[in-house]
């Protein structure tokens, strides 16, 4: 596939790293030095030019691209480049990066003429919500704007007997969810009605966010809901995290030093408790019992402050810390400082953009268990073999339809539902079956 990449900064080079070996890539950037750096490392064509100049885009050959990725650090440049690329290469898929959620909303409303908009703040927030949104989860991934979750749980000794220690067909599985795999001592199975979930196993569940939370409380009854998370920093990243976490019903406290930003956050999020403080004074941390929080998220603009804040929070007793690493080098430093998770917004954004470089129809969206299993996001064609077939009549061939996305809304299919043309189907399958599943749908 011919990929046209605008912007060779941090996001751009992360994308190159992932795509350079399988695709033919052209890079456009205004800075010769950055182009030189990527040309030295990867086998790519580089052009010096301005993404907002239609002439530069045409000269660099955007017209012959199959996929255009606009990922400079400036929203306006990406928007304009996306628009021009659409004119120059009408059949190419265009993906633009933005740091403003408003553009994502515009795009969803059909007001931006590009195929996909990827927002760093939103992706960062989703990444963090995947980590703490479902307490007992070991791994999660979200699809269809978070409407569908795939979650891997560890089954603990105290897990509810409503779902464990009995055949699955008798288990009270939360509605809108399916058990996609049971990973036991003897290996991984795509479960049928006779299989049993036992403590010590790990299971993969596909379902709605609500169902994921129900699973969480069934499997780890002592974990309970996430009631108290403290977020340091109420800037763009922090506010976006708060928005996403509040939607999941997580109780939040925010700490922000700037009077203006604290006020704005308090006005925007009536459910969150906002403090105007640095978050570093022992007096304050002690008095407000910050140490009793279940998790701390450090979303300040300065990596050094995030690291110090996270360490201090650990000292005060917060058991789980997540810090935003704006610079790639900070990730290693955070690791050394024993911060539990570091999230780099640029990397998260790049990873999301890379997804679009793969076959846009079939998206390999997640890999589990060392590549043995894959989760596919397939859009059905009118030639699909199973269109018009009720789910109960479909064969079981080591693949499981976890959810379908119809007209933008997630549906968790039951036996009587029928597959329709244009449905996005989220399938959990063995890697070996991927070609067969894709072909069948």
């Amino acid at each position: 596939m011919r990929v046209f990449l605008i912007g060779a900064g941090q996001v751009g080079s992360t994308i190159l790293e992932a795509l350079h070996s399988d695709h033919e890539i052209t890079v456009l950037d205004t800075e010769m030095s950055r182009l030189q750096a990527v040309a030295d490392r990867y086998d790519v064509t580089t052009h010096e030019g301005d993404g907002t100049s239609r002439r530069d885009l045409a000269r660099a050959g955007v017209g012959s691209a199959d996929l255009v990725l606009a990922c400079t650090s400036r929203d306006e440049v990406n928007l304009v480049a996306g628009m021009f690329a659409r004119r120059e290469a009408p059949s190419a898929t265009t993906v633009i990066r933005t740091s403003n959620v408003e553009y994502v909303e515009l795009w969803r409303g059909g007001q931006l003429d590009v195929d996909f908009v990827v927002c760093s703040e939103l992706e960062t927030a989703h990444a963090i919500s995947r980590i703490i949104g479902v307490p007992a989860a070991r791994k999660t991934d979200v699809f269809a704007d978070g409407q569908v979750q795939i979650v891997e749980f560890a089954v603990e000794e105290g897990a509810s007997t409503e779902v464990t220690r009995l055949p699955l067909r008798d288990a009270k599985v939360p509605t809108d969810s399916k058990v996609a795999a049971i990973i036991g001592r003897s290996g991984t199975t795509l479960p049928g009605g006779d299989d049993v979930i036992s403590p010590g196993d790990r299971i993969v569940v596909i379902g709605s966010p609500q169902a994921a939370l129900e699973w969480s409380s069934l499997l780890a009854p002592n974990g309970g809901a996430v009631r108290d998370v403290v977020i340091f920093g109420a800037g763009r990243v922090g506010s976006q995290i708060v928005r996403v976490l509040l939607e999941q019903g997580i109780g939040l406290r925010m700490i922000e030093i700037s009077r203006e930003q604290a006020r704005r956050a308090a006005e925007a999020f009536p459910k969150a408790r906002v403090y105007r403080a640095t978050g570093f004074e022992p007096d304050f941390l002690e008095r407000e019992r910050i140490g009793q929080a279940q998790a701390g998220i450090f979303a300040m603009r300065d990596d050094a402050k995030n690291q110090y804040g996270a360490t201090l929070a650990k000292v005060h007793g917060i058991p789980f810390t997540i810090a935003i690493a704006h610079e790639a080098v900070s990730e290693a430093a955070f690791d050394q400082a024993r911060i539990d998770v570091s999230v780099n917004p640029r990397r998260v954004t790049a990873e999301e953009i890379v997804r679009f470089a793969l076959d846009p129809r079939t998206k390999q969206v997640a890999m589990l268990e060392g590549n043995r299993y894959e989760v596919l996001d397939v859009t059905t064609r009118d030639s699909s073999r199973y269109v018009g077939t009720a789910f109960r009549d479909m064969p079981v061939h080591g693949a499981l339809i976890g959810a379908i996305v119809r007209n933008g809304a997630a549906v968790f299919p039951h036996g009587d539902d029928v597959l329709q043309v244009g449905d996005r189907v989220i399938v959990f399958t063995e890697a070996a079956n991927v070609p067969w599943v894709v072909e069948a749908l």
Partner: protein, 513 residues
């Protein structure tokens, strides 16, 4: 060496006055010009009943004539009434309106209303929709004059709605700016445009509700369900319910009428105490959910219920009335005082002290902020409560940032300060008024005891009307000394304008730069 500056560069002459007084007077003159037309209605009534028409014709001619003359004499190019002039304009407008309205009382009031102070008291009580009266013998009044009393309240009520929703928010009086966005309309419009805009929209609600109430009450009379409720009485009481006025054509107020009439009036008192902009959205725009979503309306209804239940329990418990009568007496008095209407279905001046204390407390609650009611008003209590709660919260955690919300939208800190300032001024004005009345009563020997003075001041300031003792709902303010009457006139006036415009006029920097 001194250098001669060119003439154009010299500084201008000193202009000391900060307020455009002629423009303000001009506006008030224009209002008076139209107020003259209002006198046509009682003229027609006088013709109908075969009573003397000249007091109304003369008063109307004087009002319009003076208004026209004032307007002409102050006309000038480039004058505009801005926010600064607004304070003076509303203050003068109500004083002037009361003066013009008092003319028929002067001409034809006889012993009861003929004295200038009495006439002005009755007129101010009318245009501020208070309902305090100096009339002692209702049967001696001509019917046209009786209806004129009611009509002054109705006209005053229209003015109050405009004042509450278009003018005071613009003047940022007492935290009124929280209601600034109540009605969709041109934000940067001149004061006079806003007045016209609001009057046109909310006038529909006001007129329609008055008409419905008049019909409902008159129907009782027509159907023979209430022997005392003539069409005249029905119209008179509809005229004084919707503005939360409370003038009655009977010495016994609503107790002269049937239970059914009292229940009807109770419902309309409740409506009159609701925010008119909200009723416009709910009834005219047909969005009934607006009522449920409005925080102030919910609290207002809850307060009305709680007050009704509490009073009913006390009325019943003290053996004043029993069963259904107790419920009616409790609810009617509670709603009447809460909405600052001031009708009575029982002579509560004779009730036990504990009941009087409950009524007295209700005098400081008031109705909704966009209504014709007076007093402190529910929205201010609501926001003050939220401010206090935040204060307590911040005592423990000083770093907490907690915006106060009203109907979901954050309220800015200046508005909250203005509300607290308003309440302080309100209480201050009440204490001051009480003091003057109590001292005057003690000196003249004719009038009120100290406790009654406390009630009378609260009642006048809250634009309620009746108080306790000799100035109770079946009594009259006629026996008070002139100083007390003038004080009450001042309290009614200040209370209606929400005090701050009046107090602003007393500050040096309002007048001078």
């Amino acid at each position: 060496m001194l250098e001669a500056l060119p003439r154009a560069h010299r500084i201008g002459p000193r202009r000391r006055l900060a307020v455009d007084v002629p423009a303000t007077v001009n506006l008030v003159g224009a209002l008076a010009k139209y107020l003259g037309l209002v006198f046509l209605f009682p003229t027609l009534v006088a013709v109908w009943y075969g009573e003397s028409v000249w007091p109304f014709l003369a008063a109307g001619a004087i009002t319009s004539g003076v208004g026209l003359a004032v307007e002409r004499s102050t006309a000038g190019a480039g004058r505009r009434v801005g926010v600064r002039e607004g304070f003076l304009a509303v203050s003068v407008a109500w004083l002037a309106a009361a003066a013009f309205v008092s003319l028929p009382y002067l001409f034809e009031g006889g012993d009861q209303l003929g004295h200038p102070i009495d006439a002005y008291f009755e007129a101010m009580s009318g245009v501020t929709t208070t309902g305090a009266t100096v009339v002692t013998s209702y049967d001696d009044l001509p019917r046209s004059l009786d209806l004129w009393r009611a009509f002054t309240q109705w006209i005053g009520g229209m003015g109050v709605i405009v004042l509450a929703i278009a003018v005071l928010p613009r003047l940022r009086v007492g935290g009124r700016q929280m209601l600034e966005s109540e009605l969709p309309g041109p934000e940067l419009a001149q004061l006079s445009d806003r007045i016209r805009h609001t009057a046109r929209r909310l006038g529909i609600v006001y007129v329609a509700l008055t008409a419905i109430e008049a019909l409902a009450l008159a129907a009782l009379g027509w159907l023979g369900a209430d022997a005392h409720m003539s069409t005249f009485e029905a119209v008179s009481h509809a005229f004084t319910t919707m503005p939360t006025g409370g003038f009655s054509t009977r010495a016994g107020s609503m107790s002269a009428f049937s239970d059914a009439a009292q229940w009807i009036v109770l419902v309309f008192m409740l409506l009159a105490g609701a925010n008119f902009a909200l009723m416009y959205r709910g009834f005219v725009r047909r969005r009934p959910r607006s009522f449920l979503r409005d925080e102030e309306f919910r609290l207002y209804v809850a307060l009305a219920l709680v007050a009704s239940v509490a009073l009913t329990a006390q009325v019943w418990g003290h053996g004043v009335a029993h069963g259904g009568d107790a419920v009616r007496a409790g609810a009617f008095q509670a709603v009447s005082i809460l909405t600052t209407t001031g009708y009575a279905s029982a002579n509560f001046a004779l009730w036990p002290t504990l009941l009087l204390l409950s009524l007295f407390a209700l005098m400081f609650v008031g109705a909704s902020a966009g209504s014709t009611g007076g007093s402190i008003k529910v929205a201010r209590h609501l926001l003050t409560g939220k401010v206090l709660r935040r204060e307590l919260d911040q005592t423990v955690s000083p770093e907490v940032v907690m915006p106060i919300r009203f109907n979901g939208a954050p309220v800015d800190e200046r508005t909250l300060r203005a509300i607290v300032a308003f309440i302080l001024l309100y209480v201050g004005a009440w204490v001051l008024g009480t003091g003057v009345i109590a001292i005057d009563s003690a000196i003249t020997g004719a009038g009120l005891g100290t406790l009654d003075a406390i009630g009378a001041a609260a009642s006048a300031l809250g634009n309620i009307g009746p108080a306790f003792g000799s100035v109770g709902p079946m009594g009259s303010y006629a026996g008070l000394g002139d100083v007390s009457k003038l004080t009450l006139i001042g309290l009614m006036w200040a209370g209606r304008l929400e005090i701050i415009p009046v107090v602003v006029l007393l500050t040096r920097h309002y007048w001078r730069l």
